[in-house]
């Protein structure tokens, strides 16, 4: 079979299918991972003792557990106690937990850097703590956390390939299947690599655009 035909008839259609799954994984995990990160960070910073403890425990275990192991537990382990997820759902849950736990640390760090006076002034105007956190502290913290968060989004793109280990045929998996079947390891994995590079580039550009759009003159000194 000639190279062109292999590329157009076999490799690209397979990678396209895989890419669609990868995008679904990422686009489902990233927003919830962000929300979880914000929730856990706020819980640790402003929650009561129980909330603080629970958030800490979650972050501790997720950070301490290899993501692959987490996926194995979610997909292979939980059915033994009657909780059955599809491989895709288990992957998304795993990614949300992982992404959220790491995001929370960036956001918490950024919240700590917001000056006390911001909260004091908000409360002096009659805002509840929750209102003050939502309208004053978080908007500043998230701006400061953006560079760190963009790292996590890029990790997410790349570790989404772990879903293949629990049978989700995403981009890497699709490439692996083609490569093994046609003995075209080099070409195939290079093509897969280019797609990931493209996704990461896109993300970097998007984050740059977001940073620029929400930049506040003088708030974050370079």
């Amino acid at each position: 079979m000639d190279q062109i035909a292999f590329l157009t008839d076999i490799l690209l259609p397979a990678l396209q299918k895989g890419l669609i799954i990868t995008l679904q994984l990422i686009l489902l995990a990233a927003p919830f991972g962000f929300v979880l990160g914000v929730g856990v960070a706020v819980g640790r910073q402003y929650g009561g003792p129980v909330t603080r403890f629970l958030c800490k425990v979650l972050v501790y275990f997720v950070k301490g557990c290899p993501l692959l192991l987490l996926l194995f537990i979610l997909y292979f382990g939980l059915p033994s106690i009657g909780i059955v997820f599809s491989a895709f759902t288990a992957s998304v849950f795993g990614f949300i937990l992982c992404n959220g736990a790491y995001n929370s640390e960036y956001i918490r760090g950024a919240m700590l850097s917001v000056k006390d006076g911001q909260m004091i002034a908000a409360q002096a105007l009659g805002m509840t703590r929750l209102q003050a956190v939502r309208t004053i502290v978080l908007p500043q913290a998230i701006r400061r956390a953006l560079p760190g968060l963009s790292n996590e989004w890029i990790y997410l793109i790349k570790y989404s390939s772990l879903a293949y280990m629990i049978t989700v045929i995403e981009l890497s998996g699709a490439g692996k299947l083609v490569a093994t079947k046609y003995f075209t390891y080099t070409e195939t994995f290079m093509a897969v690599g280019v797609v990931y590079l493209f996704l990461v580039t896109l993300t970097t550009l998007a984050v740059n655009a977001i940073e620029k759009k929400y930049a506040v003159p003088g708030m974050i000194r370079g």
């Binding site: 000056k115 006076g117 911001q118 004091i120 002034a121 908000a122 409360q123 002096a124 105007l125 009659g126 805002m127 509840t128 209102q131 309208t135 004053i136 908007p139 500043q140 701006r143 506040v216 003159p217 003088g218 708030m219």
Partner: protein, 251 residues
């Protein structure tokens, strides 16, 4: 502007930080339209007193009343009282991520539940009042200290408070910027705003205050109208205190 109705009553406020007793029983009453100026050396509890009034620092003992309603021990209703008691801080504490206009708007929308249009109109009017309308679109980092403080006064005014607490509003400013802020405050006083001002600006105290309260060691040591305090020989301590400033300033 003056009525006999007390709008704010402060009763026997005590506050200690660890072993350090900052306030040792402070009581006073404020009538509508009055300007009270608190003076005294640093560390005599003036700023803590202001923060005890709106419960940013809860006092250990004593009570605060606004229009006959208890502000202390008010639970969640404290947020209502804080809308009625404005506060202006030494370091402005403008919200760093919001423009001057949005700094004034944000609580109108979030706390008072105004529509965006209504809040914008009100915020612009308050900025106009402090001479900052042209700077509405600028962020705090783009403003001078005096401008930032005027925006923070507009932010407090926008809530239509019954009383505004000024916690050393000019202490972070150079003399020129101090003047522009004091001008705004003087105008407010003349318009009948009820104000409690902690300051080291003796000129302002003597010219604008209805009453000067001289604090020493956590209590109000002497108080009275400026003319009385300065001329009546029975008030020696406050006169000495002010005298130091005048000597130092060379006039």
């Amino acid at each position: 502007m003056h009525t006999d109705e007390y709008i704010l009553k402060v009763e026997d406020i005590h506050k200690a930080f660890g072993a350090n007793e900052v306030l040792r029983g402070v009581s006073f009453e404020v009538k509508k339209g009055e300007t009270l100026v608190f003076i005294g050396s640093s560390g005599t509890g003036k700023s803590t007193l202001l923060r005890c009034i709106n419960q940013l620092t809860p006092p250990d003992r004593g009570r605060v009343w606004l229009h006959g309603e208890e502000v202390t021990n008010s639970g969640k209703r404290i947020n209502y009282f804080r809308q009625r008691i404005g506060m202006v801080f030494q370091n402005f504490f403008l919200f760093d991520h919001l423009t001057a206009l949005k700094n004034v708007e944000v609580a109108l929308i979030r706390v008072k539940g105004m529509s965006k249009e209504e809040a914008r109109e009100k915020a612009l009017a308050e900025l106009r009042q402090v001479g900052m309308e042209d700077w509405a679109g600028h962020y705090p980092a783009e403003l001078s200290g005096g401008q930032a403080q005027r925006v923070s006064i507009a932010r407090a005014l926008a809530m239509d408070p019954d009383v505004i607490l000024f916690d050393e509003p000019t202490s972070a400013l150079d003399p020129e910027l101090t003047r522009e802020v004091l001008e705004v405050m003087r105008t407010l006083a003349q318009q009948g705003m009820t104000m409690l001002v902690v300051t080291h600006e003796m000129g302002f105290a003597c010219n604008v205050a209805n009453r000067i309260l001289f604090m020493e060691h956590g209590v109000i040591a002497e108080q009275g109208a400026p003319g009385v305090l300065l001329n009546d020989p029975q008030y020696s301590r406050v006169k000495n205190f002010i005298g130091q400033f005048l000597e130092y300033n060379g006039d």
